[in-house]
């Protein structure tokens, strides 16, 4: 699983710097994600994980550095054009459309695709997430936290991304649901989806991932195969509470 990857990466982030006004949130980070990998980005609160994902997704602009998708520079491509380039972000806090039905939420996920293809993908999602099928006509805001997370992930998958970015999918969920979400992530990986995963739950993230990056206040401090980091002393102390 974690052999050295060769060839060009699907995603290549090179030395990006991101600011919020005067706040220097990302101070030159570089990372790669290869086809069919799960890569996880872990780190404490405020390390800059979400900022990194939002920058890759085009919601924020790096002041310096480059983001390449499939060898193409995507700096300055607006977030709304990113989906059709094969990049999909399932944002922190789910951000599902609370007033829209489950079905409408999924339709929005496929906004950039031709209408004729949507029905097939809907069926696919309902098969993967049977809970959503039962709640097809229910208003998003009335779903439970776990169901909302599943909806957010399904919505992100509706664009058929080449790279799926997940920002803390296990946030605020009961342990049993966390297990379930990570189960889904493994399944997605098995079916060939490339994933960049941001997590607070370092234990679980390192168990499903191929490779990992550890972030601290805007910089990457460690990187390597996930199973190695899982047993690394410094990581254990800082993020695994042992």
């Amino acid at each position: 699983m974690s052999e050295i990857k060769t060839g060009a990466p699907l995603l290549r982030v090179h030395d990006i710097h991101v600011y919020y006004g005067a706040i220097h949130a990302i101070k030159g980070i570089s990372l790669e994600v290869y086809e069919n990998e799960i890569v996880t980005l872990i780190g404490a609160n405020g390390a800059g994980k979400s900022t990194t994902l939002n920058t890759i997704a085009g919601l924020l602009r790096p002041r310096q550095g480059t983001v390449e998708l499939n060898g193409e520079n995507i700096n300055g491509v607006s977030a709304s054009k990113m989906v059709s380039r094969g990049l999909s972000l399932c944002p922190e806090g789910r951000r599902i459309f609370q007033q829209m039905t489950v079905r409408e939420n999924l339709e929005m996920g496929a906004y950039s695709r031709p209408a004729a293809e949507i029905e097939g993908s809907l069926e696919e999602m309902f098969e993967r997430f049977p809970r959503l099928k039962e709640r097809e006509k229910q208003i998003g805001g009335t779903l439970s936290g776990g169901e909302q997370q599943m909806l957010a992930m399904a919505r992100a998958l509706m664009s058929r991304p080449r790279l799926l970015m997940l920002d803390e999918p296990s946030m605020g969920l009961a342990p049993i649901l966390v297990e379930q979400i990570f189960g889904i992530i493994s399944e997605l990986h098995a079916s060939g989806v490339t994933i960049l995963l941001v997590e607070q739950n370092a234990q679980m993230a390192l168990q499903v991932a191929d490779r990992a990056y550890v972030m601290e206040t805007g910089v990457i401090t460690m990187q390597g195969p996930a199973h190695e980091l899982l047993h690394n002393d410094a990581v254990q102390k800082a993020y695994l509470g042992s």
Binding site: A57, L59, S78, A79, S80, K81, M82, V83, S84, S88, L89, P91, G93, R95, I96, F97, Q98, Q99, M100, E104, E107, M108, G109, Y111, S112, A115, G141, R155, A156, S159
Partner: protein
């Protein structure tokens, strides 16, 4: 009894004009999260265009209204692009002040172009009146047309936002711009479209307003109906399409009834008193959804 019915129909007709204006107000608020105080003045511009095309170009009313719709749509898009879009990230107070500025700008521009003497508007849609109850109850064709237009617009917008891809995208943008963008929705274009629809409705409202209750067209013609329609939108629940519809109708009926049975001078005060009472009990308006703050 006949008098009451007459007042009721007048109220519904006036309320329909308010509702059409309120729909524009409400849609723009729902999506751009701003109060477009210049909305009332777009009504005025629409009415002037109808007047000019009918009187100076001697074109039929239908074409005059069409011309007004085109001009107001473009005007709405231009205002959004030039005045509001640069302030998208600014404090809402800055946007509000800008909107008031745009309102005065439109009024002064109209004063320059058309002068301050009233243009006497002849009805756009007079095809005779409907007589009922042995001729005791006369309903004007304008009133009927206004009511019909309101209902058609309300149904049309509801269908648009619930069934079409663009309409659903609009709802998505109104809920969460960032998430909508991540779906691939072009947020700027969606906001433009909203201003276009709202302004087109304002043009129709302008023609109807001057045909029914307000034949003396002056550059400030749009202000009061604009404020009343804003009130109607808040009354019904701002951001809600059926809310604007019901709010507008109720406001029109209350205003006419207050004029007829209580006092002409106090009618506006009564309208606002009712609004305040409703908001005391239902702060989000009649059909508004209580805002749930995200944590």
């Amino acid at each position: 009894m006949v008098a009451f019915l007459r007042y009721l129909i007048n109220g519904i007709s006036l309320g329909s004009v308010y509702a059409i204006i309120a729909l524009g107000y409400s849609m723009v608020y729902g999506i751009a999260k701003m109060l477009n105080f210049a909305h009332g003045d777009i009504i005025m511009v629409g009415a002037y265009i109808v007047f000019c095309v009918m009187v100076y170009l001697s074109m039929p009313p239908f074409l005059a209204v069409l011309a007004a719709i085109v001009v107001c749509t473009l005007l709405g898009i231009a205002i959004e692009r030039l005045a509001y879009k640069p302030l998208r990230q600014s404090a809402s107070l800055a946007v509000l002040i800008t909107a008031i500025g745009v309102s005065y700008f439109l009024q002064n521009a109209a004063m320059l172009i058309w002068g301050s003497n009233p243009k006497v508007f002849s009805s756009v849609f007079n095809v005779g009146n409907l007589r009922m109850l042995n001729g005791e109850l006369v309903i004007s064709s304008e009133a009927l047309l206004t009511i019909a237009a309101n209902i058609i617009i309300m149904i049309g917008l509801t269908q648009f936002t619930s069934r079409t891809k663009m309409g659903k995208a609009m709802r998505a943008v109104s809920e969460d711009k960032g998430a909508a963008e991540l779906m691939g929705i072009n947020v700027n274009r969606t906001i433009s479209l909203t201003f276009a629809i709202g302004s087109a409705l304002a043009a129709i409202a302008g023609a109807l307003l001057c045909s029914t209750t307000n034949p003396n067209l002056v550059p400030t013609t749009g202000s009061m109906p604009g404020i009343k329609a804003f009130t109607a939108a808040v009354f019904g629940g701002i951001g809600s399409i059926p809310g604007a519809f019901i709010g507008g109708l109720l406001l029109g009926v209350i205003e006419i009834m207050a004029k007829a049975y209580i006092s002409t001078e106090l009618s506006d005060a009564i309208v606002f008193a009712v609004l305040i009472i409703v908001l005391l009990f239902k702060p989000a308006g009649l059909l508004g959804k209580p805002v749930r703050e995200k944590v």
